[in-house]
């Protein structure tokens, strides 16, 4: 359901960079984020809105300042749903292949000896 929004949000280099910036230093204001990007304030706001809609960024008010926090839970959920499932399969398949090939090499080496 929310996966589409997360994938869409992540499919943009500026938005990934914004997440990296919040990973390095969490809880930044729009002004702080904007100062590190070659982009208009409006442009950064637009990207932040997409990240917020995907749940990747959660805004919290601290007095009069709107702080932006990186929320890793949607990435975790995608990891559980997609990456973990396929990566595990792939890794075990590769591990089997490696074991099989190495066993063959071993047998050949032994024959030669």
């Amino acid at each position: 359901m929310n996966d589409d929004r997360v994938f869409k949000a992540l499919a943009d280099a500026t938005r990934r960079y914004l997440l990296d910036m919040l990973f390095a230093r969490d809880g930044q204001t729009l002004t702080q984020l904007e100062s590190q990007l070659e982009m208009t304030r409006f442009g950064v706001m637009k990207h932040l809105r997409v990240l917020e809609a995907a749940g990747l960024v959660v805004p919290r008010w601290s007095g009069r300042e709107k702080l932006h926090f990186l929320n890793p839970v949607p990435v975790r959920l995608i990891h559980n749903r997609w990456i973990h499932k396929y990566a595990e399969h792939q890794v075990s398949a590769l591990a089997e292949l490696k074991a099989e090939l190495e066993a063959k090499v071993c047998r050949r080496t032994r024959k030669r000896a």
Binding site: G27, G55, F69, P72, V73, N80
Partner: protein, 164 residues
Amino acid sequence: MSADTKTSVTTQVYEVYIRATPQAIWDAITSPEWTVKYGYQGAVEYELRPGGAYRAHATPEMQAMGVPDVVIDGVVEEADPPKKLVHTYRFLFSDAMKAEGFTRVTWEIEKAAAGFSRLTVIHELEGAPIMAGMVASRFSEMGTGGWAWILSDLKSLLETGSSM
């Protein structure tokens, strides 16, 4: 730099939408029957009133590895079921963690659209760099541990009846 900005750096925020009622989520957070089924699977004890005790126990497996019976302790500051729970939070795994002292965890549960509720965890981690690294699971190569892992496991349990 204002004091607020400084504080914000040591605060972590986690948010997850769960297809469950606020009450079901509240129960899953505060009752040991539920907490043994997800995350670190330790039983919790909450005295749900301001000044009440909060304790999280290690699982028997963790205790066998030398972890103390009570691994996390704290004091309840606010309990407004099923909407808001605030308590202090200290790790007791080691002397170094114990020395970091108490941090503060705020749980907020809000009804959202279409049968979902939004759960937000705000962890104020001023002066607790070891715990900050652990709950952000930035110390873990495997990506297990930390709030993101606990909350996604809680979501899985409430929505599918089984944890990961």
